[in-house]
Amino acid sequence: MKQSPDAPDRARRMILKGAAVCGVAGLGLADMTLLVQQALAADAKGWPAEAFKQKNEAGVLKALYGKTATASDKIDLDAPEIAENGAVVPIAVKSSLPKVTAIAILVPNNPYTLTAAYKIPEGTEAMVANRLKMAKTSKVIAVVESDGKLYATSKQVKVTVGGCGG
């Protein structure tokens, strides 16, 4: 973190703000009921609701692609080592693997593991950049579907201020 005369105070305010925003641990029964009601609302066509409910990598990959991933060094996952603001973490994925048809980005320490999934038709490059929320420090996993098989790589991202908020 940058050192300036008001740095400790700024950090304190950010932590307070983070604490106010991140109510995940304190979800009450009423809140859970609200979430269940929301889950019953109609989803957009083609949106993989089941995959977005999963709370671990294996569950997401099974729901999305029906298979497991093997590690690959042909996936380039560009994510910051330290994210000062968990609400906006820039993450980019690209791959030199052949016949890429899908890219997914997973954050296992978020309330739900799957953050975004992309469909890559023929003619579209195996590349995507986006901005994601991270509740706390976590591994970020980039999954690429290439020629019908799944490959993955991961990187640890330290989150200074959680981004359950918007």
Binding site: L34, L35, Q38, A42, A44, Y112, Y118, P121, V128, A129
Partner: protein, 103 residues
């Protein structure tokens, strides 16, 4: 005013597309400061880019995509002046679309 801001630039055979969308992307885990109640999840679920009748990119988004989301991708086969249609639908059934030319 459209919620979609969009820029596509062709260079050679490759077109790079960048888009910014105005959307709260509420996660469902944040409490309203005034009422103390959880703000229900409200996020884009599907974002699609279509070039000359063909879908060139589909984003499937959950509540952990940042507010006012940004996305960048690249595809082949388009040229300057071609049109791209961008459209999104969220979990409340709201939607928007925009057609713009590749620069």
């Amino acid at each position: 005013m459209s919620t979609i801001r969009f820029r596509a630039v062709s260079s050679g055979d490759t077109t790079v597309v960048q888009s910014l969308i105005q959307h709260p992307m509420d996660s469902g885990f944040v409490k309203d400061k005034k009422t103390g109640k959880l703000i229900p999840p409200h996020h884009i679920e599907v974002l699609e880019f279509v070039h000359s009748g063909k879908t060139v990119f589909t984003a499937l988004w959950g509540p952990a995509v940042s507010k006012n989301p940004y996305v960048k991708f690249a595809f082949k086969g388009a040229k300057k002046g071609d049109e791209i249609k961008v459209s999104w639908v969220d979990n409340e059934g709201q939607s928007d679309s925009l057609t713009a030319k590749i620069g």
